[in-house]
């Protein structure tokens, strides 16, 4: 195996006296698609947010794309984190598009501000990315006029504009109407097929089964088990995984998925 692109050792995080992440060890190989599942409150989102320094970790070491985020329990200074974040894309449950900027300006903001890419060049790249997510015709619109699925696709394009080495998805489809989930998952599938390294927190079990190289099951701040989807979904070793999957399955059946 080659050098891992994400390496996590002994990661710890708590909110006050509540321990959210307990001693997490994990690593991700380049081009791997890792899907993180688990009951709500299990620490999945916090785990993801520790990888680009949005959350302050209290223990352990995290190295992403060669940049240390936490080293021996010490957070790196903000200036170092800024350099890392420019190489790690993040997509949020609530999209967080910038409502005062047009769709295209949302995408070109970071490349023009941080990398000094000339405006015209950034716009051409922005339009290419919009085409990729099927929203070229929305370039001049403002986010307020888009549907949830369109917003999330723009958010993905915005993250891709910085040519990230790793993409983090924090429940990207959880805020969407059911009929809009598919269009966002399709964009993510395309990205995975292109070899993008992705870490995805999601409740979409079908997507996990189909696209993931590795499925990670989290509960109570720990990794319960991890492995290829074929193993996790058909022959889970842990009782907690089984009970979680049963709940999810019941839900999907109930929703006719």
């Amino acid at each position: 195996m080659s050098q891992p692109i994400v390496e996590i050792k002994g990661l710890q995080k708590s909110f006050g006296s509540h321990v959210v992440l307990k001693n997490i060890d994990f690593s991700v190989q380049p081009s791997q698609v890792v899907v993180i599942i688990g009951p709500s409150g299990s620490g999945k989102s916090t785990f993801l947010r520790c990888l680009n320094g949005l959350e302050t970790a209290e223990g352990g070491t995290v190295v992403v794309s060669g940049h240390p985020v936490v080293e021996g329990g010490r957070m790196m200074p903000e200036t170092k984190l800024d350099a890392l974040r420019a190489e790690v894309g993040m997509v949020f449950q609530s999209f967080n598009l910038f409502p005062h900027l047009s769709v295209l300006d949302n995408i070109t903001l970071a490349p023009t501000c941080l990398r000094g890419v000339p405006r015209k060049e950034a716009q051409e790249q922005g339009l290419r990315l919009l085409k990729k997510v099927g929203l070229e015709h929305k370039a001049k619109d403002f986010p307020g006029t888009l549907s949830g699925g369109q917003k999330q696709r723009v958010a993905i394009a915005r993250a891709l504009a910085m040519d990230p080495k790793v993409m983090l998805f924090d429940e990207p489809t959880s805020a969407l109407d059911p009929e809009l989930v598919g269009e966002v998952l399709q964009v993510m599938k395309d990205l995975a097929a292109e070899g993008m390294t992705m870490l995805i927190v999601t409740h979409e079990m079908g997507f996990a089964r189909e696209v993931a190289d590795v499925v990670v099951v989290m509960d109570h701040g720990s990794i319960v088990e991890s492995g290829p989807p074929s193993a996790i979904f058909t022959a889970p070793r842990e009782a907690r995984t089984r009970s979680f999957l049963q709940t999810m399955l019941a839900r999907e059946v109930a929703h006719g998925a």
Partner: protein, 221 residues
């Protein structure tokens, strides 16, 4: 009752000049107040930065907690005792501007903190440093939300500026007093002055409404 506006009418050049002075003083202190308010508002965003937060909080507490008239008198009558004799105009602008800045700072802080946390997180996740994220993402959105409370503050400032007449500044209020001392027509003169202040405040309201409408157009915030 017998209203006679002829005395007021005859002194229109004085009233006109006084109005100009009021507009000048208000405009200058408004700019000072906004600059101060922006800096202090930003300075009070993060209590962990103790020094800056502390200074800004002391300023806010002192300025907001004492009467404007007392502050103006301190500038004008108090400072000379420390050997610092500032022109009345400067005292008026400093006094009003510093007073207004305290209120503006809370407007700035409140508007910034009302922007969803996800906006800053999204900007930082793209790699924008804090200041750049503030300037390019947060402040443009917060600015739109500042306009209604800023309108209140600007109107209060225009009206409060009448106090500088007590510092021998020949503003609208001061010119009115002079007219009364000659004509003894208090009712008519104060009515005329009130109307002029009303015109000034209404114009301010209209301009701000215009700005807000433009900023909110095109499906933005």
């Amino acid at each position: 009752m017998n209203l006679d506006f002829s005395g007021v009418w005859d002194s229109w050049p004085a009233l006109f000049h006084g109005t100009l002075v009021t507009v000048e003083i208000t405009a200058a202190s408004l700019v000072l107040g906004c600059v101060l308010g922006l800096l202090v508002g930003l300075g009070r965003l993060n209590p962990q930065r103790r020094f800056i937060y502390g200074i800004c909080t002391v300023y806010l507490t002192l300025v907001r907690g004492t009467p404007l008239l007392v502050q103006l008198f301190l500038w004008f009558f108090g400072l000379p005792h420390l050997g610092l004799l500032l022109p009345a105009y400067v005292c008026g602008i400093l006094g009003l501007g510093i007073y207004s800045g305290a209120y503006v700072s809370e407007i700035v802080r409140g508007s910034i903190q009302s922007i969803e946390r996800g906006q800053m997180e999204a900007a930082r996740s793209l790699g924008l440093p804090y200041r750049m994220a503030m300037r390019r993402v947060i402040l443009p959105q917060a600015f739109v939300r500042m306009i209604p409370p800023l309108g209140n503050e600007f109107i209060a400032l225009i009206k409060n500026s009448a106090l500088v007449s007590l510092l021998t500044i020949a503003d609208l209020m001061h010119e009115g007093e002079k007219i009364i001392s000659v004509t003894y027509r208090s009712l008519e003169t104060y009515l005329a002055i009130a109307v002029i202040y009303l015109v000034l405040t209404s114009a301010t309201t209209l301009v701000l409404r215009r700005i807000e409408k433009v900023l909110r157009s095109e499906g933005r915030v």
